[in-house]
């Protein structure tokens, strides 16, 4: 695992998230579930908690965007770059952007939204890319059935090195 340069981390354990918009390619309930499950990947192994807010500013703002979306990192259309996220911090810090031109799904077709968001949330929490091919924080996409997903040890070691182990 690799920490993001400068070791940024959230000073609070109780974080908030907000879903700014939805992809028309999935049912809203499936998007909500994919994001909730992706957040629990990290909250299950750390003291972090995530509370959903509907209209105020949240620590982690999640949105689907097209090409140039005014953050100096334009998306590139189908395939290629699927999503990106920002390290912990105020404002755009922690936010997750997903390329709306990808085929987002809740199964093995196209790109599984849960898998991609779980990876991006690793960046939102302070992890960089791992060169362990089995790690969730490995940069290239690979599908795992969400119902069988277990956070790999490399990622557990990395996030617990930042926030400690879960209180549960």
């Amino acid at each position: 695992y690799v920490f993001t340069a400068g070791n940024p981390k959230w000073k609070r354990k109780n974080l908030t998230y907000r879903i700014l918009n939805y992809t028309p390619k999935m049912r809203r309930a499936d998007v909500d579930e994919a994001i909730r499950k992706a957040l629990s990947v990290w909250s299950n192994v750390t003291p972090l908690t995530f509370r959903k807010v509907e209209d105020s500013e949240a620590d982690i703002m999640i949105s689907f965007a097209y090409r140039d979306h005014r953050d100096n990192s334009p998306f590139d259309g189908p395939n290629g770059q699927l999503a990106h996220a920002f390290q912990p911090g105020e404002g755009i810090g922690g936010d997750v952007h997903l390329d709306e031109e990808e085929t987002w799904t809740k199964d093995g077709r196209g790109y599984n939204l849960f898998i991609v968001i779980a990876h991006e949330l690793g960046h939102s929490l302070g992890l960089s890319h791992s060169n362990d091919p089995g790690a969730l924080m490995y940069p290239t996409y690979s599908y795992t059935d969400p119902n069988e997903f277990l956070l790999p040890q490399d990622d557990i070691d990395g996030i617990q090195a930042i926030y400690g182990q879960s209180n549960a």
Binding site: T4, A5, S73, F75, N79, G80, Q81, L82, A83, H84, A85, D99, Y111, V116, H119, E120, H123, S128, H129, N131, P133, P139, T140, Y141
Partner: protein
Amino acid sequence: SPVAPEAEDEGKTLQFVENYLQNFYNLQRKHHPHLKHNGENPLAAKVKEMQEFFGLHVTGKPDLDTLEIMKKPRCGVPDVGQ
């Protein structure tokens, strides 16, 4: 005269490799391939860095294995710090 198809493909591949290394390995956009940095072509140095990260055979050349990884769908966050 029209460009030979092979040369055109090579140009496109080089452009693709440069874009990838600018996006994910901090290759400076204004680099000049014929200028050597410490005796090494900056692009070759970045290709080596990417090959090391992905555990590929480190050649400094965008060989088939390297191109295959570069073409995989992936996260847009750079692999190395900016």
